[in-house]
Symmetry: D2
Subunit: 264 residues, 4 copies
């Protein structure tokens, strides 16, 4: 697979996951590193005021804004499996994107991508039916929204099938199975916590446009974006190292909206 | 005050107030009577799936779709006083309108008006600050949205002040105090349950472009829309009589979007 | 299996499933028929005020009060699968039983049984681990509470294992598979809507202390209680017929707490 | 007013205010300082699992467990005014106490006091009607529960009127108005952030059994308990200093349940 975005890559992160009086993450720090933000929409995290504050911070940092819809389960943070019909999923996706679009409009900002959160992300990565429902709803709301997809999963396929652009992402701090999925969090080796290792891992994926599994299997894919995290003991340090490592290699780190080419 | 919509009036009603497994109201019946629907947005009632079903029903009946944002209080149905800052109110308004816009987009439909629900409606009717926050947020989301305002209250003034069109509504089945506000529900004479009385009440308000209080006080106002209800023992019968009474008098009952002229 | 409650049986129903402004069911009618109520506890339905009203109605009708804990999912009415750890399940069960106990205490009433609701009921019927977590939590809260179990499932076994009394229930208006589980609602023949058929079905199960599947398979079990429903077009009529049919056959219909003998 | 607890005082704090994935406060640290914990019950903060963890930590630290019921408003953290009828308030209080009692029962622990949280606390401090509803509901649930009341307010009066024991608390890090109420948080001088000042403030209140307002007014009251906080930059340090200051003065710091005498 040819790298259509040679010399460019995006870095994205999940942001705006505070809720009411409860603060989560280091948004201010992470916003200095990433170029695109996946903003929680009030179902698994966040609330209308947190969304306003997050949109404003994104704007101030030149970070493109994406919706991060999840299952309606605050207490479980959208990490519990919930089986929804295609219609329920479409309704939940549209609702959350629209809510963020309107919050963004308060600042004259736009929602330019969408990435399903947590268990909704994991389930849809393996389900064409779910991914197509998500893509259909997204396209109905705004056909210019980019589907930020876990690389090589049903998500990107569904996006292209319904006529949305997809950006394929890999994770800086997570490892992969031979099937190309994220190693489940329960496994001991699911996380990459060492900054140097994360940088090397990301560089290899970007250079070769391929995922490498924990067993060393090479899985070719398009690598449009790198997902980093701001929670965990040294997550910000790892994320910063990844950005610096990419730039040191002459790669331009840009918002999703400025990638030269995204596949339809 | 000259009647700028001579020969035309709108009829609106609150719809889509079911939630999950719980059904409320007679939407199918009411949709045959009204021309504009105020659709609950998931904060005081409804959920994403109910919103989809409601939008579809509105479309099928040629009824224009409005957002009906309320306080985030399902158990209290948005009827309890909650004091929000202007920022919180803007965030809550934008979120709910946007959510409905996106749900409507699933059917290629548009949200063309906005009316604050329940206690948010009552509080803002008397508060310039609240009404302006609501109007500002609405305009930021879509400057073409019509603010469906309780006649002669701060709502319409705020809409015009921020540059939104306002439609002024009176109630078919509710009485008024000398101050021009709705008689509180606790009062014995707050409701008009007799169809003939409701028709006469509405006809007089439309003909004279004025509210009449329970004590007989005449309060001139613009009457762009009549609000009817579908709940209560004979609410549907009253609503139907009101529509028939207006049409029998040669008045055209149209969606808010087809009123000849709305004040800015 | 000998019928340890010869000549006696209980009739139970799910009650108190309204929420805020939304009414569900015909509690007033159902309370004239049943002798034990499974009262929703605010997670899948109900709220503190509805719980108060339901407890009071139970008391006035001489109906024994049980907790009906469910998954925390109002919009899905506790009918969606949610996977909880044993600890989460214990926490959710204890919380809901305790909440109802305290509401009951406002009227000097007691919670004397517990029955898991909806999908929590269905999942635990097939899971020893879930049923034991439910039983353990229930016993910790009050060792005298009766576990109202779907007959011949893991529920009754778990109750007896941890040292709670169990009452085994069969359904008046639902059919059974050869495995002894309820026919899924999606299947065409899952419901028995004819009163005469329901009476015959129940009489046979009580007389023979056995379930009969839709294919005619006989599955011996203890039949301590009959579950009836108040929703659906003729559910109340079916329920009434069942009670009258049992009494006409000389069987005493009593609260769970008055069954002569429940297995430990 | 004679100090019926001469030589003894309690220290209490609000605990267990995390929710789902969101952590709040320094419970582990605060539990080493206080002798009684006001445990959130899931309405303004917490959830069943957090409640379990909090109860366990209290037990391990020899800290007596109290319910801290609040308004059902997670996003607003129970700090927004909500007007409830007496019946609604009773229902909400009973529900939350009962939920915590049952969670406590999972560890063989007991709920021995109750203190209304946040805005429910502030509103009831000035309202005999609200305080009596809270006290009535509490007594119905368990007549041995101690009402932990803001000193000299309607709370203690109501508790004694309905026949509950009340413990009167003052705040270590908050100042008072001449009316004996807490200085509103908006005011610049509402907080005492200096440890030495807090110790002196508390010592004087305990020694003299009186509150001193910011203007120096002396308001005699019973001082059974000192409320400390664990949030804020140096809250733990202030709390620790207060406990050490009391013990250095020969005062025994004990759980509410071990105060020699509480007024009925």
């Amino acid at each position: 697979m040819a790298n259509s975005n040679a010399g460019h890559v995006n870095i994205n992160s999940d942001l705006g996951e505070s809720f009411g009086p409860w603060v989560m993450g280091n948004d201010a720090e992470v916003l200095k590193i990433v170029k695109s933000a996946n903003v929680a929409c009030g179902f698994h995290a966040s609330d209308p005021v947190v969304m306003m504050d997050t949109v404003k911070l994104c704007q101030q940092n030149g970070v493109s804004i994406g919706a991060h819809p999840g299952f309606a389960d605050l207490q479980g943070f959208g990490r519990r499996e919930i089986n929804l019909s295609a219609k329920e999923l479409e309704a939940n996706i549209a609702y959350q994107i629209g809510a963020l679009q309107a919050i963004a409009a308060l600042y004259g900002a736009k929602v330019t991508h969408m990435k399903p959160h947590g268990m909704m992300g994991n389930m849809s990565a393996e389900s064409a039916e779910m991914s197509e429902a998500i893509a259909r709803a997204t396209k109905a709301v705004d056909r210019d929204i980019i589907f930020l997809a876990q690389a090589n999963t049903e998500q990107g396929k569904a996006a292209r099938k319904v006529g949305l652009r997809a950006a394929e992402e890999v994770f800086a701090d997570r490892t992969y199975t031979d099937a190309g999925f994220l190693t489940p969090r329960k496994a001991g080796n699911s996380m990459i916590k060492d900054a140097a290792l994360a940088v090397a891992h990301v560089r290899r994926m970007v250079d070769e446009q391929a995922i490498y599994s924990t067993s060393g299997k090479r899985i070719p894919c398009q690598v449009d974006s790198i997902c980093v995290h701001g929670d965990g003991p040294n997550a910000v340090a790892v994320s910063k190292a990844v950005r610096e490592g990419l730039e040191a290699a002459g790669i331009r780190v840009v918002p999703l909206t400025e990638l030269p080419r995204l596949r339809h």
